[in-house]
């Protein structure tokens, strides 16, 4: 039987480590062109509708940044956590609870807190996300439960909490039984760029919540690359035995990783309910919390690369909507793109570290002549292992 096997490379190429995500993006685009052709569309027109048209207007740019911002924020938090080998899969749920906490303040104190309401909501959202993540952190650090399962399952619990609130105590009495809260007043909303005198964005939904993301990018980078706590997380991630030997606390690494990623997801939740949504309902997120996992992976957990990965993933969302409207293609095509991207990314990463080799036939004894290839002798290696 002929087969292939993966053989570990002695030393993965540094260039290819950096270029693997780029290669994955290019392959995704190529596969996308083929996909459009297979769907009976002119590939170039479809390409234009998917990737260019959605962002060629002020409104388009606004929508792009509006989607990229929460993806980037959550992606940064996840990059920090994944560096520590803490696999928080439940950012979606942490984002829900962040949104819920902000909403609680918004609908109860709309009339009394004035300009302090929005800052209070931001803090409440971050704390809410951290609280939800802390359940996972506790289970992992104290009982050694898998953070992957706990955080994922808690996402469904968070979803139920949202449903309970919007169908029950927080439902807007005037909503004709739709699962919605009242709409937030201005004090509970991030100011729009348009309202701040940026006329170019007139009518667009882009708001100041993007500032949180812009601040978070250098902060996350500084934490990962310059602080001792970030270093401890990185050591815990790549060599847990070395972390123990050095005296870095493993439970602490779990807590820091979960709280950082949960807090970021909670903030993303605030920026949605106090931004484009303007209320809490039971289906307000296009699964940013899950897509951000791809964002973090695509960025190779590098905080400075996360914004670009987030912009790309946001573009896939917009492109999907665009081709649905313009070319009547199914909207799920953007999920196909997400899937393609993730597959190509994982494939590229594997091939950076391994190479493919034809499997040898094992077991037979071959008594064949072998020439002495004197020409192949080289000078002795300088560095001996």
């Amino acid at each position: 039987m002929i087969g292939f096997e993966l053989v570990r490379r002695a030393a993965p190429s540094r260039h290819m480590q950096v270029l693997a995500p780029v290669q994955a993006v290019l392959l995704t685009l190529l596969a996308g062109l083929a996909l459009f052709a297979a769907l009976g569309q002119d590939p170039l027109r479809a390409f234009h509708e998917f990737f260019i048209a959605p962002v060629s207007s002020a409104n388009g740019l606004s929508e792009w940044l509006l989607k990229a911002s929460p993806l980037c924020l959550i992606g940064l938090g996840l990059a920090v956590a994944y560096r520590a080998n803490v696999w928080n899969i439940g950012a979606e749920g942490q984002m829900y609870i962040g949104g819920v906490c902000a909403t609680g303040l918004a609908i109860h104190f709309q009339d009394s807190w004035g300009p302090f309401l929005l800052p209070a909501m931001i803090v409440a959202g971050a704390l809410g996300g951290m609280f939800w993540a802390s359940i996972t952190a506790l289970c992992r650090a104290r009982f050694n439960a898998s953070e992957i399962l706990v955080s994922l399952m808690l996402t469904y619990v968070a979803n139920m909490v949202v449903k309970y609130l919007v169908f029950g105590p927080w439902q807007d009495p005037q909503a004709n039984n739709f699962p919605l809260t009242v709409e937030f007043q201005d004090d509970a909303l991030f100011p729009l760029f348009a309202a701040l005198g940026w006329e170019w964005f007139e009518g667009a939904r882009l708001n100041l919540s993007i500032v949180i993301t812009l601040v978070a990018i250098p902060l996350a980078w500084f934490f990962c690359e310059r602080t001792f706590a970030g270093f401890q997380l990185a050591v815990a991630g790549v060599a847990p035995a070395a972390a123990r030997y050095a005296g870095f606390s493993a439970p602490r690494a779990v807590w820091v990783a979960m709280l950082a990623s949960g807090g970021a997801a909670g903030l993303a939740g605030v920026s949605e309910v106090a931004g484009p949504i303007g209320q809490l309902n039971d289906r307000w997120t296009p699964e940013y919390g899950f897509t951000a996992i791809i964002v973090a992976a695509l960025a190779r957990l590098n905080p400075l690369a996360v914004p670009f990965a987030a912009l790309l993933m946001a573009l896939l969302y917009l492109g999907g909507e665009s081709v649905q409207i313009e070319l009547q293609l199914p909207k799920s095509i953007s999920q196909v793109f997400q899937g393609l991207l993730l597959m190509f990314l994982l494939g590229s990463e594997v091939l950076v570290r391994f190479r493919l080799r034809r499997r040898r036939e094992g077991g037979s004894v071959q008594a064949t002549e072998r020439s002495v290839d004197a020409g192949a002798r080289r000078s002795p290696g300088e560095g001996q292992r």
Partner: protein
């Protein structure tokens, strides 16, 4: 004239960054015990794997009984009559001896029949083993016997032994040599790979010496002096360590009545361990790994906690303190594993300096002082002559000896009050070994308490003032190194001190 059993010509093998073998020639005659002598990293293991089919050479020729052959795989090698006992055994702990052997042989036979054959062979060659014993109950020496008997069952023409004595007591080594001599007398050739000169001089008929992937000479080891062989092996004369006069200081580390649970189903629990190390002296704990060494280290490091007063630093009880707190009190550690414990393989040396040197002003208000970490690593590299591309080089790019020098340098640079080293020169080349041992001796002379846990008896006798043996989780009485002998320590390594203790009690 009959052709030699095995002849290699111009065997060459390169890996991505190193040339492991550069045109090696080797000849093994029928019935001889042939030594392959070389330092760690000289290419011995790669050469043996080429013969055993586990590595395919890039160039060169292998002749077996006068016929050129290609050995495609270990299966093909076994079919030719080549068997190999590896340095690290591949036995399943939870299965019995005969089950392990049946797995490896892959023959269609009943376990009962195989057990009988096993007993026959083991009796014939003086390698007593009980086929029904589960492997996890066996000592390391017994495990090695299982591996040898497994090879002998296939009646090999050539038996390759890779560093077989590194885990054996002196008595077990004698027994092994007896077996190998008997095999040779019956016509089986033995390729004996080692860097231990005295053993090779005792056992082998001929020696091929390799250095940096090349053959640098063949010799009759019984005719040459150990010094001459060493010179051939390392390319210059053998470095010697120098002892300083011992100055006894205050009590620095005390362990009293320490009990520790086994750290796994096949670990060894510690029972009533007590010892003291004073400032300025080196205490050695000899014994074969797996007798409680890893449990003792965890308890000293602080990754396993003990009762408050079971471990004392000076007059301060630290049993319940964690690793970071003990480090802050002036304890430094050199762990047995370098990559993955002592150093993070993919991180730079500067980052690895930070790993345990963080208490030395490398972190200011939670922020890493990159320039200081860099300078710290640079100092370690310079002081110990570490061969590396610089503080930015990843730890994984260093050879074992150089990385160990770096780790020892990093720990000593913390100006510890107590330094604990586990297997400090395991797999380290001769020059680096000499340097590390000298630095440890010098450190003790400067007033630091040093504890060395090692399997290498020669090392213990060379650098320690006092020695005790850890066997089956119990610590033997202590001896002054000048008042004991390798034979006595060897008996203790096999657990021989229990009776003496019983008599004394």
């Amino acid at each position: 004239m009959t052709p030699p059993l095995l002849r290699l010509a111009g065997i060459t093998k390169s890996y991505a960054t190193v040339q492991a073998l550069a045109g090696v020639d080797l000849e093994v005659r029928a019935g001889e015990i042939h030594a392959v002598l070389g330092e760690n990293g000289a290419g011995k293991s790669t050469l043996m794997k080429s013969i055993f089919g586990a590595v395919q050479p890039d160039a060169g020729m292998i002749e077996w009984q006068g016929r050129p052959i290609t050995i495609e795989s270990p299966v093909a090698a076994r079919a030719c009559g080549i068997a190999m006992v590896f340095q690290h055994f591949a036995l399943f702990e939870s299965m019995t001896v005969v089950e392990n052997v049946a797995l490896a042989l892959g023959e269609r036979t009943t376990l009962g029949d195989l057990a009988r054959r096993l007993s026959d062979v083991s009796m014939r060659y003086g390698l007593p083993i009980n086929p029904a014993q589960p492997v996890h109950r066996l000592s390391v020496g017994e495990r090695q016997r299982v591996e040898i008997v497994r090879c002998l069952l296939q009646s090999p023409r050539l038996l390759i032994m890779d560093e077989p004595t590194s885990v054996l007591t002196p008595q077990a080594i004698d027994q092994l040599f007896e077996t190998l001599r008997r095999l040779a007398a019956e016509g089986t050739s033995v390729l004996y790979v080692s860097h231990k000169l005295e053993e090779i001089r005792r056992l082998c008929d001929r020696a091929t010496i390799i250095r940096q992937g090349r053959v640098v000479g063949t010799a009759d080891p019984r005719q040459e002096s150990a010094a001459r062989l060493a010179e051939l092996m390392i390319g210059h004369s053998f470095p010697q360590t120098e002892r300083r006069a011992k100055r006894e200081g205050v009590l620095a580390l005390e362990v009293a009545g320490l009990d520790v649970q086994a750290d796994g189903p096949f670990g060894t629990a510690l029972r009533g361990i007590s010892f003291r190390v004073r400032a300025g002296e080196v205490l050695g704990i000899a014994g074969i790994s797996g007798n409680g060494q890893s449990e003792l280290l965890s308890a000293l490091l602080g990754s396993t906690l003990s009762p408050m007063h079971a471990v004392m630093l000076g007059d301060r009880p630290v049993g319940t303190l964690g690793v970071a707190e003990r480090r802050a009190l002036g304890v430094a550690f050199v762990p047995e594993e370098r990559l993955g414990v002592g150093a993070v393989p993919e991180m730079s040396l500067a980052q690895n300096a930070l790993l345990t040197g963080y208490g030395r002003g490398l972190v200011r208000r939670g922020v890493v002082a990159l320039d200081r970490a860099w300078a710290y690593a640079e100092r370690c590299i310079a002081d110990y002559g570490v061969v590396a591309a610089g503080p930015g080089a990843p730890a994984a790019s260093l050879s074992g000896g150089n990385l160990q020098k770096f780790i020892v340098a990093r720990e000593i640079a913390q100006a510890p009050r107590v330094l604990i080293l586990a297997q400090p020169t395991w797999g380290v080349d001769v020059a680096a070994t000499a340097l590390i041992r000298q630095r440890v001796i010098d450190l003790a002379a400067s007033g630091v308490a040093v504890l060395v846990i090692s399997e290498d008896l020669a090392e213990i006798l060379e650098i320690c003032d006092r020695v005790a043996v850890l066997a089956s989780g119990r610590l033997s009485p202590e001896r002054d190194v000048h008042a004991t002998s390798a034979a006595e320590i060897g008996r203790w390594m096999a657990g021989g001190f229990f009776d003496a203790q019983a008599v004394a009690a």
